[in-house]
């Protein structure tokens, strides 16, 4: 398996996940590891979690112009994960016109060659929750 595109992506011996943390005081779930809760300011209250792989689209856009070397168009989604975390990602295997508020989506892990690289990296992507192959 290729090296992860971002440090929050954990290869985990072929069963990849996105690392998060949950505040045991207020319950907020964050993307990535952290020490202090930005919401309730609790210290030493964070526990590491594997983020949920299902959620719903909160906001989205179709990006037609991006930085040089980045293929467009693509669908940029803000997803409310079912565990309460909120994460940005790219929604694939979808007609951009069909994206709508609260559309159920699922996180999948795939290898892809990012802009600025000449080899594939492990990344997470979102696909419509129904009828998509990982």
């Amino acid at each position: 398996m290729s090296e992860p595109l971002l440090p929050i992506i954990q290869p985990n011996d072929g069963k990849p996940y996105v690392a998060g943390s949950r505040c045991t005081q207020c319950g907020h779930v964050y993307v990535g590891p952290r020490e202090v809760c930005a919401k309730c300011t609790a210290r030493d209250a964070m526990e590491p979690v594997h983020l949920a792989e299902t959620g719903k689209v909160w906001a989205w856009t179709v990006v037609h112009r991006s930085f040089p070397g980045v293929a467009t168009p693509f669908v940029d989604v803000i997803v409310d994960l079912d565990d309460g975390a909120h994460i940005k990602g790219t929604l694939v295997d979808v007609d951009p016109q069909a994206v709508s508020a609260d559309m159920p989506v699922r996180m999948v892990f795939r290898e892809a060659v990012p802009a600025g690289a000449d080899k594939p990296y492990l990344t997470y992507l979102f696909v419509p929750a129904q009828g998509a192959a990982a």
Partner: protein, 382 residues
């Protein structure tokens, strides 16, 4: 505690000046502001200089080398799109604190064309993990508003029609062209719903202000053209539910607005004109609500009804705004104050908001994973 006044303020016409230097652009605005006040650099007791692109480059000192090195303290300020307003506020605070009577604040920026930021070196998450471009972020802020309140692409586009129209009346605007609704909606789509004409213009520019204590204004007999700073408030982003995924510019704006209205002892209904941070057309509508110009969910109606157009109840961005006048990051905050001050003085010419007594300026900046800086000023004819 006595008030602080603006006694001199000006800006250069925004444009693209690749052959100029950042200190050179700053110097031009500084001299214009000093001339406006009828003062010299020898009268200034301190300088606060805002610039983002050369934040580690001692721009303030280099500017003084071009207009007179009197040895005054210089603070170089960087604070995203609130950079210029932060320099202005620091100058205001230094007078409020009783340290100085006469202080110069300058904001300056020299920018390239195109999207801000880039993929940098090495593998980039751009495209595979959403987008880190500013248009995409503000597109999603618009879509969020649309899903909550049914705001339409056409309503967002009308912001751009309005601000481009306003700019035809402003000789200091980068662009001065009408852009009918079909042209705005039909322009190249950058990130839905923001087309190219709904994105602010990256330009070079500078603006400067001379601030003075009340006692000094009276002593020098400058009250005639003085503009009183009724409130100067700043905020950073309070925790927002989705901040890990999408930067939040609303929480900070609402916080600073609440404090500014309280400090000034007024409400949004008392404001005669507003220059707000229309970095994208979607942002302007969201900020109508953040600044209390209307209730939540009514921003679309406000633009439909022409309430925020010149001649409406509370004209917004009569300068042309960031969308057409241009957005030189470090200069924008002071340029917004220049616009409002010009109306309060009654010298805005063809775009004058008749009878303007109180105006509000707003800038808010930040980026993905960075946080937000917001500054709001309330100004009143002295």
């Amino acid at each position: 505690m006595s008030d602080v006044y603006v006694v001199g303020i000006d800006m250069i016409r925004f444009g693209r000046f690749p052959d100029r230097t950042v200190p050179g652009l700053a110097a031009e605005a500084a001299l214009l502001a000093l001339d406006d006040a009828g003062l010299s650099i020898r009268d200034m007791q301190a300088l606060y200089c805002g610039n983002l692109g050369q934040a580690n480059g001692m721009v303030g000192q280099r500017m003084l080398a071009e207009i007179g090195q009197t040895g005054i303290p210089v603070v170089n300020v960087a604070n995203a799109c609130a950079t210029g307003a932060t320099a202005f506020r620091d100058a205001w605070m230094s007078i409020k604190a009783g340290m100085y009577d006469t202080v110069l604040a300058v904001g300056v920026e020299q920018m390239g064309k195109g999207l801000l930021g880039g993929t940098g070196g090495g593998p980039s998450p751009e495209g595979l993990v959403g987008s880190y471009t500013m248009p995409a972020m503000f597109a999603q802020i618009g879509i969020e508003h649309a899903r909550q309140y049914g705001t339409t692409f056409e309503q967002f586009a009308k912001v751009s029609v309005k601000n481009h129209h306003h700019s035809t009346l402003n000789p200091k605007s980068m662009y001065r062209k009408e852009t009918p609704l079909e042209e705005v909606m039909g322009a190249e789509m950058i990130a839905y719903p923001n087309t190219k004409l709904m994105c602010s213009v990256n330009v070079d520019g500078s603006a400067a202000a001379v601030l003075m204590s009340e006692a000094k204004v009276r002593q020098m007999g400058l009250m005639d053209r003085a503009v009183r700073v009724r409130a100067s408030e700043m905020s950073s982003n309070p925790f927002a539910e989705r901040q890990m995924a999408m930067p939040d510019f609303s929480g900070a704006t609402r916080l600073a607005a609440k404090m500014a209205y309280e400090r000034a002892g007024i409400g949004p209904e008392d404001v005669n004109l507003v220059e707000l941070h229309d970095c994208f057309a979607t942002a302007e509508l969201v900020h109508y609500e953040n600044l209390g110009l209307c209730a939540d969910g009514e921003a679309g109606r406000l633009i439909d009804d022409g309430v925020t157009a010149l001649g409406g109840k509370v004209p917004v961005n009569v300068s042309g705004g960031l969308l057409s006048k241009g957005h030189p990051l470090g200069a924008t905050g002071i340029a917004n104050i220049y616009e409002v001050a010009t109306h309060l003085r009654g010298t805005a010419g063809a775009r004058q908001v008749e009878g303007a007594k109180i105006g509000l300026t707003h800038v808010v900046g930040g980026g993905p994973g960075m946080g937000t800086a917001c500054a709001i000023h309330v100004l009143e004819k002295a």
